[in-house]
């Protein structure tokens, strides 16, 4: 089976673009990714298009209506916040299977503002604030407090995640925000759902990211191996049965399952990874995933953030892009945006936030419901 390589990858600067359409936003990242490897849409044999907000709206085809109707197959993908990673993985699988030797994956989202989630609508009466809360900040607060219950993780430790990721984003011109947020500022920001303050919630933004993926033969033929990124592992997992599933959407066991399988596929361990972009949809969530991805023994996550191990310059930098907390979280685009970030470091092109000597990186996303996508990438 051939290896698959990312030869072109890019993302737009995340922001709010109410004047644009979803296909227009998606097209921008695609043109940038094509430019990154000197290709045109005529070189592409299939398009895997990830979007949530218009999941039944044939977004991939509408993108081609903007940039070139070449008649290639389009696969529209929707998988909650793992949408982008799922589109990328389907593209990867088509190369591995030998169906194509040059394909494109895109993730795009146009978001509203405000709270996501909420318990029940449907028939009867609203359950929000009656049977607890289904808002995302509350759901991830409960997931964080489960960690507190088991390991004594504190509000301050959760808040430090946000301080770190906002600091990282000051070095990333494509992030929504570039502002420092000291610990007191984070902890004293408006409380949304304890222990998540407003600065500990990801930013709803519009955005897109795209990647061109080629077979090994095609990558060599095109002379693109120099900046190519090898996909060492691509794993997707759904949530295996857990006893509290019905009331606590599970982000842990599917991450653990996907991580184990990804390390096996790559023939690597957590100790071999030089940087990680993981799903910090809320500050509480990032802490859980230090344990889940095996960056420490179970329960060691609080110490990792206290000791600075996960900051730029530390043992295993996490979310040097600024993460979803500050770069922003356009749901369907996030999974490919984090592949862009890791690839940029592996290419040594990340500027002030460059993780020095980075050779292998890992990306992780969680779609609640649940889907976990993990990719391990290596400089070719």
């Amino acid at each position: 089976m051939t290896d698959a390589y990312v030869v072109g990858v890019d993302m737009i600067k995340f922001g709010r673009f109410p004047e644009k359409t979803v296909p227009q936003i998606g097209s921008e990242a695609i043109m940038m990714a094509l430019d990154d490897c000197g290709m045109t849409i005529h070189d592409i044999q299939a398009l895997y298009s990830g979007n949530l907000g218009q999941a039944s709206g044939m977004v991939g085809q509408r993108i081609l209506h903007e940039i070139g109707q070449t008649g290639i197959p389009v696969i529209n993908v929707s998988n909650a916040c793992a949408t982008g990673a799922t589109a990328f993985r389907e593209a990867w699988a088509s190369i591995k299977a030998g169906l194509y030797d040059c394909v494109l994956a895109v993730g795009v989202e146009q978001m509203g503002r405000g709270l996501l989630g909420g318990a029940g609508g449907g028939t009867g009466i609203s359950k929000e604030g009656l049977l607890g809360s289904g808002t995302m900040p509350a759901v991830f607060a409960e997931a964080g407090m489960e960690h507190s219950n088991k390991y004594g993780t504190t509000f301050e430790q959760f808040a430090k995640v946000s301080v770190k990721n906002h600091h990282h984003s000051t070095m990333n011109s494509k992030a929504m925000y570039q502002i420092e947020t000291p610990l007191e500022t984070v902890m004293n920001a408006e409380m949304i759902s304890y222990p998540n303050t407003k600065l500990m919630c990801s930013v709803n933004v519009d955005g897109s990211a795209a990647a061109v993926i080629c077979s090994e033969k095609k990558t060599r033929e095109l002379g693109l191996m120099g900046r190519a990124i090898k996909v060492r592992a691509s794993i997707l997992a759904s949530d295996p049965w857990q006893e509290r599933d019905l009331v606590m959407p599970d982000v842990n066991s599917c991450t653990r399952k996907a991580a184990k399988e990804a390390y096996e596929m790559a023939g690597l361990g957590a100790e071999d990874i030089d940087l990680i972009e993981l799903h910090d949809c809320f500050a509480t969530a990032e802490i859980l995933h230090y344990d889940n991805l095996g960056l420490c023994e179970d329960g060691g996550a609080g110490r990792l953030i206290d000791d600075g191990d996960v900051a730029l310059g530390g043992r295993i930098p996490v979310n040097v892009s600024g993460g979803l907390l500050s770069k922003g979280h356009p749901l369907g685009a996030t999974g490919i945006a984090n592949i862009y970030e890791v690839s940029t470091h592996l290419r040594g092109e990340a500027g002030a936030r460059q993780v020095e000597g980075a050779r292998i990186g890992l990306t992780h996303v969680i779609g609640l419901g649940s889907a976990c996508g993990i990719h391990i990438l290596e400089k070719a």
């Binding site: 009466i125 009656l130 409960e142 489960e146 759902s193 009331v247």
Partner: protein
């Protein structure tokens, strides 16, 4: 419009004579407990071995969030609580009669399930609903 309050969720049962209760579906093969009716166990895959049980009203606090920002019309702050029942099931709901202050909320604290009106909420037809809440065990 119903004379009597309606159950807030389909796994709440309100007998004509007797107290309301929450109903679980328990797998006869692996003992996994589910909320809501089903015929196949998603833990072990066994078919047609589901039996109904009356869920315990006693449990302990497993996790929580203190909700300060919710949707319009929802009174805040309140405690959204995840409670492990003594029989092995897990429920989510509002924890009442406890200050919404992390200093006052202890993991593992014993709580009980009580039944009360759904905060005055009515559906489009004007029906009232019976809901459940958690409160510290007396």
């Amino acid at each position: 419009m119903s004379e009597q309050p309606l159950p807030v969720v389909d796994y709440m049962k309100i007998p004509d004579d007797g107290d309301p209760y929450l109903e679980g579906h328990k797998c006869g093969e692996c003992d996994a407990i589910f909320l809501g009716e089903r015929n196949i166990c998603s833990k072990c895959g066994t078919r047609d071995r589901m039996g109904t049980i009356k869920l315990s009203t006693q449990g302990s606090l497993y996790s929580y969030a203190i909700v300060h920002r919710s949707f319009p019309g929802v009174e805040v702050p309140y405690i959204s609580a995840v409670v492990d029942l003594d029989d092995g099931a897990t429920l989510k709901g509002n924890l009442i009669k406890v200050d919404p202050d992390p200093e006052k909320i202890n993991f593992g604290m014993p709580v009980e399930v009580i039944f009360a009106d759904a905060l005055g909420r009515k559906d489009r037809d004007g029906n009232s609903y019976l809901s459940y809440f958690f409160q510290p065990r007396a």
